[in-house]
């Protein structure tokens, strides 16, 4: 079993860090897909099979909150797990995102262990 993961962040550096971090965990990754904002993420979702969306909040064009809203409105995407990795991590904002149905939140910067645990929280245990 492996998971196709969509990384959505306007920073190419952060996308590269997340990719490298995933390689350091035992998460069974299939295809890693990338998007620089929510609009690009929705395009990827329409064209590719995605098991998990990892998204930032603060992005141009369409931010992470709007992306989650759009996904939850869509019968095709509403059940795809979403985790948020962001610098914006107030308790109020996290609660708002949890009420919208996200599956986990991680504050930047993060460790490989935190990313692994976040993905387990969202996707459940896998055979290691």
């Amino acid at each position: 079993m492996s998971f196709n993961i969509l990384i959505t962040d306007d920073s190419a550096t952060t996308r590269a860090i997340i990719k490298r971090t995933l390689q350091m965990t035992e998460v069974p990754v299939g295809t890693l897909l990338e998007a620089a904002n929510g609009l690009e993420a929705l395009e990827v979702l329409q064209n590719e099979w995605v098991d998990l969306v990892m998204t930032d909040i603060n992005m141009p064009e369409m931010n992470g909150i709007e992306l989650v809203e759009k996904m939850k409105e869509s019968p095709d995407f509403e059940n795809i797990p979403v985790v948020v990795l962001s610098t914006e991590g107030s308790e109020t904002r996290i609660e708002e995102l949890q009420n919208m149905g996200i599956n986990g939140f991680l504050h930047k910067p993060f460790t490989p262990e935190q990313v692994r645990d976040l993905i387990k929280e969202a996707l459940g245990d896998w055979d290691e």
């Binding site: 920073s11 308790e91 930047k108 910067p109």
Partner: protein, 157 residues
């Protein structure tokens, strides 16, 4: 900014430079001759919400390639580093700001962060920061870094 807030400011910068960039910075007094620091670049951003304000870092030109190399796990001589260095510096300031604000104002306060912008230090408007802005200096791996922070309508300014 009171002593507790100043400690939070210094602590946030030190913690992020260590955890994200693998640098171990030391606070330092302001250099006697700032104009002797050579060509400097400035990255700055705004934030809004519970408080509004600005955060900036100015740094020597070579610092951005070191940041990108460390964040991406690449060699500083890698030809891919230079085009990636500005994005890495912007992300560094973004993460520092995101960690600094809850340290100053508590975890309940909600903020929206602006997009960091990079300009030559010489192009920065003289009034970018008011006289009440907080400035701290760090040395990290031979690079001298200046951070400036200001907040409107707040006890931290």
């Amino acid at each position: 900014m009171n002593d507790t807030q100043l400690q939070a400011f210094e602590g946030s910068i030190g913690h992020i430079l260590e955890d994200l960039v693998f640098l171990f910075p030391s606070p330092m007094p302001a250099p006697a001759h700032e104009h002797g620091l050579g060509n400097r670049i400035l990255v700055h951003m705004t934030y809004s919400g519970a408080h509004n304000g600005k955060l900036a870092m100015d740094y020597p030109d070579s610092f951005s390639t070191m940041v990108a190399a460390n964040m991406l796990g690449l060699d500083e001589d890698d030809p891919d580093i230079v085009p990636k260095s500005e994005d890495a510096i912007r992300e560094l300031l973004n993460v520092i700001c995101g960690n600094l604000l809850p340290a100053l104002y508590g975890s309940e306060a909600v903020f929206s962060l602006g997009i960091p912008e990079i300009i030559p230090s010489t192009d920065a408007p003289e009034d970018m920061f008011s006289e009440t802005a907080t400035t701290i200096w760090f040395e990290a791996d031979d690079a001298i870094l200046r951070f400036q922070y200001s907040s409107e309508n707040s006890a931290a300014s």
